[in-house]
């Protein structure tokens, strides 16, 4: 690669228009976007889901998914027009000079082959290196990406490696031919914060070392601030704004960009402290639980008082959701008990009375799987109304309409829709309405905002906060996103490996001194400052972040 040619752009997309097929017509997905990328530069693409980020990212490879077509514009890669290039020319480019890292590494690796075998496939296929050479190179890359045990990890199968390691192995695979361009499609979205930070620093490092250009697609602003040199904001297939990262963060021009930036400022005012001696609404007392013989909860105890929100935070596998399953009665605890309003609840949900079941409701993470796709919105909300309150006919319809109004959806428009005809945020609102329909006093919110875009998530959080004030509900808020905790919680419980590590009021939790694990969690949350990752690495050293640090605890 000659450095002299740096002025000519590596990727040049001009006025690209992409259509997607829906039913029988072609609807525009991308409506004329320009994109220029120099060698060695990282471009961040941000926007909500459905904005066309991934479609644009793939179009930079001259590729479209099934049912999608490029209807206009041009895509040039290093002077080659990818839209008119022959299949043979494209075959020669893809994988060799352009690589792609998908969101879910676990779903993208072939589970039947070892990592190293998949790693060497592209170099051997393209005739860049022999099997042996590229395997050695793979081990060197694993070492550069700070994978544990680089000599041996390649000989494992994908299921034997953790999610964060797999994502790094995938990055190594993308680097195997030393491409000029890598497209990262939300590579850390599915990871925990502590794991994410490791992957981020690894990606940033290797991209800089080999002077690779990259397109980094994400909806997380703080992440893109660490990774990108320039940021492009997309909204419904149109470009809103492009600028280099620092300018974009400090002085956004467009209103939409400003609103994105402002999301993280939502925070509820602190509530007065709980009176001593008050009976908590829900009390988890010394609960142990196990799946089969595997013990996953150890002596978990915390209280949730009426009208307050308790956030339970921790990484995946820390026992947050299992605690919720114990409270709902899906997983009867081995020891300890759950008190509701001072009285113990039967451990198994089948043994609880209808009224006890009614009091505790749940809102799920994935609204897609939480709503029956064959039932209309009206039917979904009406069922608990009829089941618990015995309302039928007109009274039932009125109650459902009232609930729909409460979640800020127009009953006339949404009553007969199916879940597939709603957006992600609207689906989540229906989930909330279904929980409210039972007229409960306590709602468990299991990662309710983690699958949503930040703007939509903020709307949901505000709605939940308003409902809490109006109906004096109590929430147990399971999350791994500390920004959410900061926005809505009154008290915080930190969990790790089935133990409660620390608990207390929010203000105390966010100010030092912390438990070492809480400290690590807090410090791993990306901030909007573009120097945050650099500073953190300088401050802590590359070995004291992420999973490596967790294991040391």
């Amino acid at each position: 690669m000659t450095q002299a040619a740096d002025t000519t752009p590596l990727v040049k997309i001009r006025d690209i228009r992409i259509d997607g097929r829906s039913d029988e017509t072609w609807l525009p997905i991308i409506k004329g976007v320009n994109l220029t990328l120099q060698r060695g530069q990282v471009l961040g693409l941000i926007g909500e889901s459905g904005a066309g980020k991934s479609t644009l990212g793939l179009a930079a490879m001259g590729y479209t998914r099934d049912g999608v077509r490029i209807s206009g514009g041009s895509v040039e890669f290093d002077g080659i027009d990818l839209l008119t290039a022959s299949a043979a020319v494209k075959r020669d480019l893809l994988g060799k000079r352009i690589a792609y890292v998908a969101q879910s590494a676990a779903a993208s690796f072939n589970p039947a082959h070892r990592l190293i075998d998949q790693h060497v496939e592209a170099p051997v296929q393209h005739g860049i290196a022999g099997r042996k050479d590229s395997a050695e190179d793979g081990i060197a890359l694993y070492r550069k990406l700070r994978l544990p045990n680089p000599e041996e990890i390649g000989f494992r199968y994908p299921h034997q490696v953790s999610g964060g390691q797999l994502q790094r192995a995938m990055t190594a695979m993308a680097m195997s031919c030393r491409p000029d361009l890598i497209i990262f499609d939300e590579p850390t979205t599915a990871l925990d914060v502590t794991t994410q930070i490791e992957v981020l620093s690894a990606i940033r490092d290797i991209v800089a070392q080999y002077n690779t250009a990259a397109i980094y697609i994400t909806h997380d602003l703080a992440v893109v601030a660490q990774m990108a040199d320039r940021i492009k904001v997309l909204l419904r297939g149109e470009e809103i704004e492009t600028a280099d990262t620092r300018t974009m963060l400090t002085a956004p021009v467009q209103d939409y960009t400003k609103s994105l930036w402002a999301v993280r400022s939502f925070e509820r005012p602190a509530k007065p402290a709980v009176q001593t001696g008050a009976v908590p609404l829900v009390s988890v007392r010394n609960v142990d639980a196990a799946y089969g013989k595997e013990k996953v909860l150890h002596d978990v105890s915390f209280d949730i008082h009426a009208g307050r929100t308790v956030a339970v935070v921790g990484e995946s596998g820390s026992g947050k959701s299992t605690t919720a399953r114990c409270i709902t009665g899906l997983l009867p605890p081995m020891a300890g008990q759950i008190l509701f309003d001072g009285a113990p609840l039967p451990p198994d949900y089948r043994k609880r009375s209808k009224d006890q079941l009614r009091q505790i409701q749940m809102i799920y993470q994935m609204a897609d799987t939480a709503l029956n796709p064959r039932m209309s919105v009206g039917q979904i909300i009406a069922r608990p109304v009829q089941f618990y309150l015995g309302l039928t006919g007109k009274a039932k319809r009125q109650r459902v309409d009232a609930l729909l109004n409460q979640i800020e959806l127009d009953p006339a428009e949404y009553y007969n829709r199916l879940p597939s005809e709603l957006s992600g945020g609207q689906k989540q609102r229906i989930g909330i309405a279904r929980a409210l329909a039972a007229e409960p006093r306590f709602i468990i919110c299991d990662e309710v905002t983690s699958a949503l875009d930040q703007l939509v998530a903020e709307g949901i959080l505000r709605l939940l906060a308003r409902l809490q004030d109006e109906l004096s509900l109590s929430y147990m808020f399971i999350t791994h996103d500390l920004a959410t905790v900061r926005a809505i919680a009154d008290e915080v419980v930190v969990m790790k490996d089935g133990y409660v590590v620390e608990q207390g009021p929010k203000a105390e939790m966010f100010s030092p001194p912390h438990h070492a694990y809480t400290d690590l969690l807090l410090s791993s949350v990306p901030e909007m400052d573009p120097d945050w990752l650099t500073n953190l690495l300088v401050e802590r050293g590359v070995d004291n972040i992420g999973d490596a640090a967790v294991n040391e605890l």
């Binding site: 097929r21 029988e24 099934d66 049912g67 008119t84 022959s86 299949a87 043979a88 709902t328 009665g329 899906l330 949900y349 609880r352 209808k354 079941l357 505790i360 749940m362 799920y364 994935m366 799987t369 939480a370 709503l371 029956n372 796709p373 064959r374 039932m375 069922r383 608990p384 089941f387 618990y388 279904r434 039972a438």
Partner: protein, 398 residues
């Protein structure tokens, strides 16, 4: 053999030339430029096959009966194919312009195969329902004064009779009437059997998926045992037992047959509905319904069943074909639908000997093939519709 290899090699050369010519003629248009050799070869091969088909068809229309007879059935097949294709196309055109908004939209996106399938199924249903009005004679009626084994075609010179366009069978019954009644008997019984198999297998499967545990184990192992025995032999065995019991109990043997085939086929339905049910049961909305305190009936029929309809409906079509073929095979073996009821399987068995005449007197060989053709046509039609429904429910676009 050598000629065959030489022809294949020749095709290869022509294919290469074809692709090259295409590239030159279109100025390297993307389609020809990116065409693989296999695709080009496929084109040439298809053209060669088509040429042969046209040649064979023209042979079939040759004035020399010795030549024409050899290609008689191929001629019929080609003509039938064209007629059915035109019929299906017209039917689709009809569907696109008549009916509600929903059905019009359905017909617009429908492939020709599916519209052919739907058309054929409708025709079969019509014939089965109105059999007694359509058939010129009774199904068991031995017509007086008419010889047995009249040739189909109604050509007096060859030994036919215009009053019996499809001829008469070995004891002088009208074959056309028996074919029409056969639709009623065979298709009706197959439909009833499939419905019972689905009610049984489906509800058991969902129950096993929802409850799990020992009930699931028990049901699944029973099903394993039943499936381990070859189904046709098992059915044959049970039918032999039933043929002894039926007269003693005074219950028609046909009822036994319906029940036996339904139980044997319900094992396949059980497997499917259990698997489909299991992937639905883990969904959060089922958990939400359980936590609400809903009963088993609501869970199974209101929450799970509506989400399982697509695969079950597709399986219903396939299962219907299998049941239908099982009944025909049992009848062919003599333990299925009992005479004098008309049944296509029995007709194939009774008239099967005539197939030997196919080489030199094709018309004589036709009677058993009519019944066999009726079976085949329905099986093909149902499968076309099922394929189309699977394609739609799996969300495959293109």
């Amino acid at each position: 053999m050598i000629w065959f290899a030489a022809a294949l090699l020749g095709f290869a050369a022509i294919a290469w030339g074809f692709r090259f010519a295409g590239q030159v003629a279109t100025g390297r248009a993307p389609y020809f430029r990116d065409m693989t050799f296999g695709v080009a070869y496929g084109y040439i091969f298809a053209v060669a096959a088509l040429v042969w088909l046209v040649w064979a068809y023209l042979q079939g229309r040759s004035p020399d009966p010795a030549v024409a007879n050899k290609f008689f059935f191929l001629r019929i097949a080609v003509e039938g194919f064209i007629v059915f294709a035109i019929g299906a196309w017209l039917f689709r055109l009809f569907g696109r312009n008549v009916g509600t908004k929903g059905t019009k939209r359905l017909f617009r996106s429908m492939p020709l195969t599916a519209s052919f399938g739907i058309m054929m199924i409708l025709i079969y249903v019509f014939v089965a329902v109105f059999a007694s009005f359509l058939a010129p004679y009774g199904q068991a009626e031995i017509i007086r004064g008419v010889p047995a084994n009249i040739m189909p075609g109604g050509d007096i010179a060859l030994g036919g009779n215009p009053d019996f366009p499809l001829g008469t069978d070995q004891i002088g019954r009208d074959i056309l009437s028996r074919l029409i009644y056969g639709a009623q008997n065979t298709v009706g019984i197959a439909f009833a059997t499939t419905v019972i198999a689905f009610a049984l297998g489906g509800s058991m499967g969902f129950l096993a998926a929802t409850l799990g545990g020992w009930l699931d184990q028990l049901l699944s192992r029973i099903v394993d045992v039943l499936m381990a025995i070859p189904s046709l032999i098992f059915a044959l065995l049970l039918m032999t037992i039933a043929s002894v019991w039926a007269p003693r109990l005074g219950i028609p043997q046909t009822y036994f047959m319906i029940l036996i085939i339904a139980v044997i086929d319900s094992t396949r339905v059980y497997r499917l509905s259990r698997a489909v049910g299991q992937s639905i049961v883990v969904m959060d909305y089922i958990e939400a319904a359980k936590l609400r305190g809903e009963g088993m009936g609501y869970l199974m029929f209101k929450e799970i069943l509506p989400n399982a309809t697509a695969p079950l409906l597709a399986e219903f079509g396939l299962r219907f074909c299998f049941v239908f073929l099982t009944i025909a095979s049992l009848s062919f073996l003599g333990v299925g639908i009992q005479p004098p009821l008309a049944d296509w399987g029995t007709m194939v068995r009774d008239l099967g000997g005539f197939v030997n005449f196919a080489q030199f007197a094709p018309m004589v060989a036709t009677p058993p093939l009519l019944a066999a053709g009726a079976i085949a046509l329905l099986a093909v039609a149902v499968n076309f519709v099922v394929d189309w429904m699977l394609h739609r429910s799996s969300g495959l676009k293109d």
